[in-house]
């Protein structure tokens, strides 16, 4: 009896929150978090073919915490520098402009808009998965001899709608100090993260292939994506691989083979084995970004 009343309370809460989020997302004047200035500028700069290292360096220097994080990542064993990295210029050279842009964007967004009190651990889990997806995406693209340039950012931001939902929940009337059960939050993610992510992607003017990936990365959707970058399809598989690597997937190595996206990418068992073996290098890279 007691159990069923808890269930019904949870259901009630879920329905209330669902109605709230539906209402929020349906509004024309939805208040989405603003893209942090540094992240916005990083994004602009990274898509400008005339941008130079010095511009990136001076931009990142504006945010001390971000600069520190970048130096730390460049010095981490995952990137094994030949000599200690002591300057931002050196870090940029070592990590590469594209990777750095993705990282700077990610760090800046994480520590800024999506710092949601009460869910620190879970948000960290979301970023861990997003980073792993980005890194797997690059490897998938490489394996099909496809240009890898967009794959990291597509993977990194494909579930940006999830922290956006948390952000919305923090604004739920009379609930600002209450922590909802993670099961409830996850159920809301399932229902709304694509819509929320799409709105955020449009509001932040993310690159077209990234916006398309946010909309269509799921198993039953990627066929709708039309960008020749194949970002949605690549991210779909990268998402699964990241889930398997992080131990939160219902799939194992064998059942992954039956996924339609594996078939559509024409990956044979040995290709999938080779991709899964990359977990050994991707996992430490992810942890190093997060630590």
């Amino acid at each position: 009896m007691a159990h069923s009343s808890i269930v019904s309370l949870e259901q009630e809460e879920r329905e209330t929150l669902r109605a709230f989020i539906t209402d929020q997302l349906g509004r024309g004047n939805l208040e989405l978090p603003l893209l942090p200035v540094v992240a916005n500028q990083v994004l602009l700069l990274s898509s400008d073919p005339d941008s130079e290292v010095a511009q990136f360096s001076s931009l990142i220097q504006q945010d001390q915490a971000l600069a520190g994080q970048i130096i730390r990542i460049a010095n981490s064993p995952a990137y094994a520098p030949r000599a200690p990295i002591v300057s931002l210029q050196q870090a940029i050279t070592w990590l590469g402009l594209n990777m750095l842009a993705g990282l700077a964007f990610s760090v800046s967004v994480q520590s800024g808009v999506f710092h949601t009190t009460g869910y620190e651990q879970e948000v960290r889990g979301l970023w861990r998965h997003a980073l792993a997806t980005g890194l797997f995406g690059k490897e998938i693209a490489r394996r099909i001899r496809h240009n890898v340039e967009n794959a990291f950012l597509c993977g990194l931001l494909h579930t940006i709608g999830k922290p956006a939902i948390l952000h919305l929940l923090s604004q739920a009337p009379g609930r600002s100090t209450e922590r909802f059960s993670w099961r409830t939050v996850e159920s809301l993610f399932d229902d709304f993260h694509v819509t929320a992510g799409s709105k955020l992607g449009a509001a932040w003017q993310l690159p077209d292939p990234v916006q398309e990936t946010i909309r269509y990365y799921q198993d039953d959707q990627y066929h709708q994506a039309s960008s020749p970058t194949k970002g949605a399809m690549i991210t779909c598989l990268a998402h699964h691989l990241a889930s398997v690597m992080l131990g939160n997937s219902s799939h194992d190595e064998k059942s992954l083979l039956t996924l339609p996206v594996v078939q559509d990418l024409n990956f044979y068992p040995e290709d999938m084995t080779a991709l899964l073996e990359l977990s050994e290098t991707i996992k430490p890279s992810v942890e190093c970004f997060l630590s």
Partner: protein, 464 residues
């Protein structure tokens, strides 16, 4: 014990060579199994090679035509033009071509298998499917047509991000400012000229003193002149020492001469390698050559007589047109069918900008074979149609015997060259005298008139 399905003919690979082999087998009333490891039929020709690069080329030319029209219409090009914008028609073209081929195979009753083929013995092939399951087929005749992929040289770290091959360059998101093209062959020259026309600063680097060295020298000189007019540079006689991305914004190519080239991207087009690695050739006793090719005789038979190899796996000329014919003739031979007269004069088409095409003997070859040659030339800008179309370059060169009587070869550079060449091909096949091109009337104004002009140029040089 695993059961094998018995068929009359197994064809491995559905590119131009495999497809024609399978169709020839089916048309002869045989039961044919066609095995393709990718999801679509057509091979690299359709999905990574000929069709995508020609679509990009066509888009580049359309863009230039638009730019030329700016005198008439007021508009400006987008600054952020992306390759994906230029490839908008590609999906449609590929889908249509794929569907057409699939329908053709189905219509001919060919059993298509999707999977990776590997020999179990010289008569049996295992087909590994994506889900890990396997099917086995046996046949008295097997044709290998597994094609090729871009070669990855040991000293060049192709990352498909900054250092690309001819597959990954097709998925570039934006046009780079500068591109170094390593290689001087067909693929290198085609992409170099396309990107140069699109406004990219292109430098070609190769060991040969000129690109496309197998072509008539005048053609390549004309090509180089045109390439340089669009801002391109050809650096011949150079060996590559290292290629490395600097981690910031450029790829540094260090030549053995010590010279350094910097560019935003590098395209590596240093040949192709045959797709043999999954075939388990040791089960057949066939040994690839040291260059990783399959040796065949004139009938495309390997050292195991009932196993044939066609297309890119046997090496040059690696032209889709030749591969198709090899596939057809191999199956005719295997089945004891008359394959018709062996093609004597196969034209070569190169889709550079401008196009180049060649059939028969080059001037140099004619001199070597006949002790001399008379050569007639027609420049497109001197032909009415060339003037109308605003052609500033283009050359048709006819090679005749030392007396100037008999046609020995035709070499064309300029737009439409790959179509125009077929008049010359027919002339060669019918041993046509040079005067026949003078006596006949061509449509006016057409580029075909260039044949008449070149023939007159030869006639003028005759010693009477």
């Amino acid at each position: 014990m695993t059961l094998s399905t018995a068929v009359d003919l197994i064809v491995i690979g559905s590119g131009p060579a495999g497809q024609k082999a399978a169709i020839q087998g089916a048309k002869a009333g045989k039961r044919v199994a066609l095995i393709e490891q990718t999801r679509q039929v057509g091979g690299a020709c359709v999905y990574q090679g000929t069709i995508p690069s020609k679509t990009l080329r066509e888009s580049a030319l359309q863009m230039v035509r638009f730019l030329q029209a700016t005198e008439v219409f007021e508009f400006r090009m987008r600054d952020d033009i992306k390759i994906t914008n230029l490839m908008t028609r590609l999906d449609r073209v590929m889908r249509a071509h794929g569907e057409f081929m699939k329908a053709q195979l189905t219509r001919n009753g060919i059993d298509c298998f999707h999977g990776r083929a590997g020999f179990v013995s010289d008569h049996e092939v295992r087909i590994q499917h994506l889900d890990g399951s396997a099917t086995f087929v046996t046949a008295p005749v097997i044709v290998m047509a597994t094609g090729s992929r871009p070669r990855v040289p040991d000293n060049i770290p192709i990352d498909h991000e900054h250092i690309l091959d001819s597959d990954s360059i097709l998925s570039l998101v934006y046009l780079p400012k500068s591109l170094t093209v390593l290689g001087g062959g067909v693929i290198a020259s085609e992409y170099a000229s396309i990107f140069a026309l699109l406004g990219v600063q292109v430098t070609m680097v190769d060991t040969a003193d000129r690109p496309l060295k197998f072509l008539d020298q005048e053609l390549t000189e004309e090509f180089c002149g045109s390439f340089e007019k669009t801002g391109g540079h050809y650096r011949g006689g150079q060996n590559i020492h290292t290629v490395q991305w600097d981690g910031r914004s450029h790829v540094t190519t260090v030549l053995e001469s010590g010279e350094t080239l910097e560019s935003e991207k590098v395209l590596v087009a240093l040949g192709r390698v045959s797709n043999l690695e999954h075939l388990n050739l040791q089960a057949t006793g066939i040994q690839p050559t040291t260059r990783g090719l399959i040796s065949v005789n004139t009938h495309c038979q390997t050292t195991v007589p009932h196993i044939y190899a066609v297309g890119d796996v046997i090496g040059p000329p690696s032209l889709a047109s030749c591969s198709m014919e090899q596939g057809r003739r191999a199956v005719c031979h295997a089945l004891g069918l008359n394959s018709g007269v062996s093609p004597e004069h196969i034209p070569m088409g190169i889709y550079t900008i401008p196009e180049m095409s060649s059939v028969g003997l080059s001037e140099q070859d004619a001199i070597a074979k006949h002790g001399g040659a008379l050569v007639g030339r027609a420049r497109f800008h001197e032909i009415a149609r060339g003037q109308i179309s605003g052609m500033t370059n283009g050359l048709l060169k006819m090679v005749a015997d030392p007396k100037g009587d008999l046609l020995l070869g035709v070499h064309i550079v300029g737009e439409g060259a790959t179509e125009l060449i077929h008049i010359g091909q027919m002339g060669l096949l019918h041993h046509m005298p040079i005067d026949r091109f003078i006596d006949n009337i061509f449509n006016f104004p057409t580029l075909a008139e260039a044949y008449r002009v070149a023939a007159l140029d030869i006639a003028k040089q005759r010693q009477h």
